[in-house]
């Protein structure tokens, strides 16, 4: 099993979720996060609109899911396809982190392994 953690633009979340479901991914969860990568932050007022502007982290959404090893390529393809901006993509489209997942247990039945996903 592998864990996929994809950071995407908030406005792309609905598209990414639809693509995940089409790829056969049965579950996921979402986190509202803030952070900064190559895109850096966003400028906001701290001076009541009288001109004091500071840079702060950007809002992003983290989509987390765990899938069987054999779905890895199709799921990554689905996320990249749905999250990439029109054309050749843009800085700020996000990143996908992939890691090994040791075990998973379904609470209702106590099953473990791929069948519990």
């Amino acid at each position: 099993m592998i864990k996929i953690e994809a950071i995407v633009r908030p406005e792309r979340v609905n598209l990414v979720i639809a693509a995940l479901e089409d790829a056969g991914c049965t579950g996921y969860h979402l986190f509202n996060i803030t952070g900064a990568g190559q895109q850096r932050g966003v400028e906001v007022f701290t001076g009541r609109g009288a001109g004091t502007v500071v840079r702060t982290a950007l809002p992003k959404t983290l989509i987390s899911t765990v899938i069987p090893d054999d779905m890895k390529d199709s799921v990554i393809e689905a996320i990249v396809g749905a999250a990439r901006s029109a054309g050749d993509g843009a800085i700020g489209d996000g990143k996908i982190f992939i890691s090994k997942m040791d075990e998973v247990v379904r609470v209702r039945t106590g099953e473990s392994g791929d069948i519990a996903l």
């Binding site: 007022f45 701290t46 001076g47 009541r48 609109g49 009288a50 001109g51 004091t52 500071v54 702060t56």
Partner: protein
């Protein structure tokens, strides 16, 4: 007693009371989320504390007798405050006492913006009582009481520019100096809830119709004109801030629009009985530009006036008092070559600034030394937020459990 006047003054009293919860949201949105409950409570408790104290002794101290400087004890406990008759044929004594109570409530609430995010709540409650008694009541008497000296020199303060706004602003400066700067915010803070700020400003704007048009103490042409110039100055103030925001940053700040509207409202307060529609455009424009400049360069001030009470209510109020004398119609204004009103208003402003600052400074200095009180919360409480430390409540519960 005129029923039309009474109906309008009851309505106006309710409108002015509603400004205080409006102010609570205006201030509440400007602070950080960990202090929103505390900031809202500072305003809300002014309704509770002054709402009681005004009945017991506040009104009497402000409006009893015919002394030049302070009232007396004739109306303690609202004794002899008649609901059916008064010195004026149009309205009873009690309706004016009610209307005035709402002004006494919002004035100390305005001060709280300067000390937001660090002031000890228990001390604030004591401060409210003392400040209303020894600062607000005398100044209200000077301006509006029988025989009051500011009224006597011919100064024109229609709805309370000196009593409410300049008074609150100078108390705010004294309080900000004594309470000290907030910890760890070199770049200032971002308003945590911009919709609250705009909602609060909208409620203030709405309530201000009672504040200014109600101050005509009649449902007449003066009230109608006050209503119009109030709206015009607020609109011009908001427009000015947004244009300045656009010109300097390329973005139209909503918090700026809200601040500009309040600045325009502050400035028109003393002028609402004396200026016409075009004069109120000048009042709003001047208020917008001056308050914007002070907020923009606020970091050069030596004190941390957290929510810019000095800029908006102090500078806006002083501009309003002088603008009243500049734009007044009827042959008494500088536009007609008359400087008598300007000099009278200048003296009224100077006296209010001096008295409010010095007395507030003394009150807070004493409270700082009273065992069990003190001005400021502990550093750990300030870092964790005053909502939990002072109230055991949070504005936003996000534990994931219900």
């Amino acid at each position: 007693m005129d029923t039309g006047t009474t109906a309008w003054l009851l309505t106006s009293s309710a409108l002015v009371l509603f400004m205080t919860p409006g102010l609570a949201f205006f201030y509440g949105g400007l602070v950080r989320g960990k202090n929103v409950v505390n900031t809202i409570m500072l305003s809300f408790m002014a309704m509770a504390v002054v709402g009681v104290a005004w009945i017991v002794w506040g009104y009497s101290l402000a409006f009893g007798g015919a002394n030049e400087f302070i009232g007396n004890f004739d109306f303690i406990g609202f004794r002899d405050v008649d609901a059916n008759a008064g010195p004026d044929a149009g309205y009873s004594s009690m309706i004016v006492a009610i209307f005035q109570m709402m002004f006494a409530i919002i004035t100390p609430a305005l001060i709280t913006g300067a000390v937001a995010e660090r002031f000890k709540f228990k001390t604030y409650l004591v401060f409210l009582l003392i400040w209303m008694t020894v600062v607000y009541a005398p100044i209200a008497h000077w301006v509006w009481g029988d025989g009051g000296w500011i009224g006597g020199i011919g100064a024109s303060d229609f709805a309370g520019g000196t009593v409410v706004h300049i008074n609150a602003a100078m108390a705010a400066v004294a309080a900000a100096i004594l309470v000290g700067k907030r910890r760890g915010i070199p770049n200032g803070i971002e308003a945590h809830n911009v919709p609250y700020v705009v909602l609060g400003a909208g409620i203030l704007w709405f309530g201000w119709f009672g504040f200014n048009a109600g101050s005509a103490l009649a449902a007449d042409g003066v009230a109608v004109n006050a209503f119009l110039v109030t709206n015009t100055a607020a609109a011009m103030g908001a427009l000015t801030w947004v244009l300045l925001s656009y010109l300097t940053t390329g973005k139209a700040s909503a918090v700026g629009a809200a601040s500009g509207a309040v600045a325009g409202l502050v400035a028109i307060t003393p002028a609402a009985g004396d200026v016409g529609a075009m004069g109120s455009l000048g009042v709003g424009l001047g208020a917008g530009i001056l308050t914007w400049l002070v907020v923009k360069y606020r970091h050069k001030l030596m004190f941390d006036d957290a929510l810019d009470v000095f800029a908006i209510h102090g500078i806006g109020g002083i501009w309003g008092a002088l603008a009243t004398a500049i734009f007044a119609v009827g042959g008494i204004g500088v536009i007609d070559g008359e400087f008598g009103l300007l000099w009278a208003n200048f003296r009224a402003v100077a006296a209010t600034i001096g008295y409010s600052f010095v007395m507030t400074f003394v009150i807070l200095k004493v409270l700082d030394y009273v065992p069990g009180l003190g001005l400021r919360v502990e550093e750990t409480e300030e870092d964790g937020g005053l909502d939990i430390a002072e109230h055991g409540e949070r504005g936003y519960v996000g534990d994931g459990a219900d």
